[in-house]
């Protein structure tokens, strides 16, 4: 009894310490960023973790800069459209791969994975030239296309895994109950695959939101430049000042939505939603 209790306590201690370490490892840089963004310009080099004096001047600065607000708008729009497009196409493709009997299904999945394995750096040069010829350079579509392409394999694989878990009988039942194939998909399959849809959505959104390589290479003006690229163009208020504070503030602003999205959807990303559909 005593032994078991001690073991229990030791285990809890172990998990507690481990958890704190992991959280600290992940969050200290973010906290440092927040601290930097709140320090007045003259305190930036004071090496203190907790700011001596708190100011919102950097936030005011970046939002007064038209470059930043248009970059924010570009980021939101491009990431949202890429996510939506990748999900729509990915759901359709995953569903077909799981449900339909056709030769080359495995090949298709493998090919999709191969796409994801391309290092983006290796295609950025040709893409730059192609986009300029096609008129896609420095447009939203010019970024949405590569984002969608690079995240589609991930979406297909994630969604296919979830669709595979849904008993086929449910779809048959819906069809017999009077649903068209599309109605069966929308009313029965999609709600049950919701955790998969949200997982895929978050992954695609984060890829598009965080991307720097495509954004810096394929844009040149405020028309399509996203926040990660725009931050690189920040300048200080004078030639001799580093824009550290503004960069920190901008980074905090772009990190928040990702954290919010994950927190909002994490409750939906729970497995076991299909329990009770069939026996056991």
């Amino acid at each position: 009894m005593m032994r078991a209790g001690r073991q229990d306590r030791r285990e809890r201690l172990w998990w507690g310490v481990g958890g704190v370490l992991v959280v600290a490892y992940a969050l200290v840089p973010v906290a440092w960023l927040v601290s930097l963004s709140l320090k007045p310009a003259e305190d930036l080099g004071d090496n203190r973790f907790v700011p001596r004096q708190i100011t919102l001047e950097h936030y005011v600065t970046i939002f007064q800069d038209p470059q930043f607000s248009s970059a924010l708008w570009n980021s939101v729009g491009i990431a949202a459209i890429s996510t939506l497009a990748a999900l729509l196409l990915g759901a359709g493709a995953a569903y077909a791969i799981v449900r339909l009997e056709f030769s080359g299904r495995r090949l298709m999945l493998a090919a999709a994975l191969a796409v994801a394995m391309f290092p983006p750096v290796s295609i950025i040069g040709p893409l730059f030239n192609m986009w300029r010829t096609l008129g896609l350079y420095d447009t939203w579509a010019g970024l949405i296309l590569p984002y969608m392409t690079f995240t589609l394999p991930l979406a297909i694989w994630t969604l296919a895994a979830f669709f595979r878990e849904i008993p086929w009988d449910l779809e048959k039942a819906a069809r017999v109950d009077g649903a068209s194939p599309l109605q069966a998909f929308v009313h029965v399959i999609l709600p049950l695959a919701a955790p998969g849809v949200f997982t895929a959505a978050i992954l695609v959104f984060m890829f598009a939101w965080n991307d720097f390589l495509f954004a810096i290479s394929l844009t040149s003006t405020n028309d399509a430049r996203t926040v990660p690229a725009a931050i690189a163009f920040f300048t200080g208020s004078s030639l001799f000042e580093l824009p550290t504070g503004a960069i920190a503030a901008a980074s905090v602003v772009v990190t928040l939505p990702v954290i919010l999205v994950v927190l909002l959807f994490q409750r939906r990303i729970v497995a076991g939603l299909t329990s009770g559909a069939i026996k056991g």
Binding site: R175, L273, G276, K279
Partner: protein, 386 residues
């Protein structure tokens, strides 16, 4: 309400024929059973009737109309799946309302009909629950509820009871029978369990390897099986089979000789052809002394195993032979033993007799109860002339 007719329906998959040319008619209001071992094509047949599978050939008619090209939603049939297939993200009420919603009924109509169905199936108290919080029997009821709420032309049930435990299965079986009588809806029921087939069906079709072996009332199947397979599949415990041959004006079998049963005469028998003789366990009855009617088979058996079931007693004994080579049965009926010169027989007798394992018992079989099958084709020679 509707009658269903299959005309030369065929289902082929690449490399195999799942359902060979099948024709049958299911009358309006009938409780019709498709029974057979797994992989015999019974579920495929059901899926073709409801429209989830296309037919490769032939026609399916409902009330005289060809429905081959109709989508499942246009056939107005309801189906209960072996896995129940109730929607886990919807409450019981939403599950039952789903087909009505798709049909475009008004909110009030949906509410009344769901509640009516819930009353019939005693689901009133569970309407707001999710399937995850229901027991197996309750889920089964919800699946039934979703089927009856639409007042469909036809019910199709695909092994609806096989996921329930034995006690619940018996109970639901009775309820199903009562429900079907009450609603009077044409019902097609697929099962691999011959007990369900016998107890529920107005008529039963026995399938094997995608082919209908026999269609008839449970009584016809039991008393006049068309072939060896049906004879062995229907009935529990199964019919006893022994090798036999026609010689010297009587049927010879390892236990002795017996006269021809009614329906067969000397002219119809060929000497020397290999035969399989079958008899039901209840037709072996103990006799005392020498009062055995002429033409009946009587023999003594040494009891190997006794199974006392309360109301009846199963007596198992061995029969061996050496002069009937090449005796085989359809693979589904074969026992595990690879011994082709020995079989275990079973007799069902009155438990009032005090018997012990190891005792010898004098048993008698009346010729009238004997079934005679062709050893090669398996066809019942008696049924042909009935």
């Amino acid at each position: 309400m509707a009658s269903i007719e299959l005309r030369s329906v065929i289902k082929r998959y690449p490399g195999t024929t799942a359902v060979k040319e099948t024709s049958l008619t299911i009358a309006d209001g009938e409780f019709f059973i498709l029974v057979g071992p797994s992989g015999c094509g019974k579920s495929t047949l059901l899926n073709m009737i409801v429209g989830l599978d296309d037919v490769s050939g032939g026609e399916i008619l409902v009330d005289g109309q060809v429905v081959n090209d109709l989508d499942p939603k246009e056939r107005n049939m309801a189906m209960v799946f072996q896995s129940y297939a109730i929607y886990p993200h919807m409450t019981v009420r939403e599950n039952m309302a789903f087909p009505l919603k798709l049909a475009g009924l008004s909110q009030e109509d949906i509410a009344t009909r769901v509640e009516q169905a819930a009353d019939i199936l005693e689901l009133r108290g569970l309407l707001e629950r999710k399937p995850g919080a229901l027991s197996g029997g309750q889920r089964q009821r919800v699946a039934m509820g979703r089927a009856i709420v639409r007042d469909p032309e036809v019910f199709l049930l695909d092994e609806p009871l096989s996921n329930l435990d034995a006690k619940l299965r018996t109970q639901m079986r009775t309820e199903l029978a009562r429900l079907q009588r009450r609603l009077g809806t044409t019902t097609v029921y697929v099962t691999h369990d011959q007990t369900e087939a016998m107890t529920l069906g107005d008529r039963v079709a026995v399938l094997r390897h995608g082919e209908i072996q026999q269609v008839g009332t449970p009584r016809q199947l039991y008393e006049h099986p068309a072939n060896l397979f049906v004879a062995g599949f229907i009935g529990s415990p199964a019919m006893n089979f022994l090798p036999g041959r026609w010689s010297g004006g009587s049927l010879q079998l390892p236990l002795g000789s017996i006269a021809l049963p009614p329906g067969l005469d000397d002219a119809s028998m060929q000497a020397g052809t290999s035969l399989v003789l079958g008899f039901r366990p209840e037709h072996l009855q103990p006799v005392s002394g020498e009062n055995v009617e002429a033409g009946n088979l009587d023999f003594t058996a040494r009891i190997e195993v006794l199974e006392w079931m309360g109301a009846e007693l199963f007596v198992y004994f061995d029969v061996e032979w050496s002069d009937y080579p090449g005796f085989t049965l359809p693979e589904e009926l074969e026992t595990d033993s690879k011994d082709t010169a020995r079989r275990v027989m079973v007799a069902r007798i009155d438990p009032a007799r005090g018997l012990k394992e190891g005792d010898t018992l004098h048993l008698c079989l009346a010729a009238a109860h004997l079934q005679v099958f062709d050893g090669t084709s398996g066809a019942n020679l008696r049924a042909k002339s009935v």
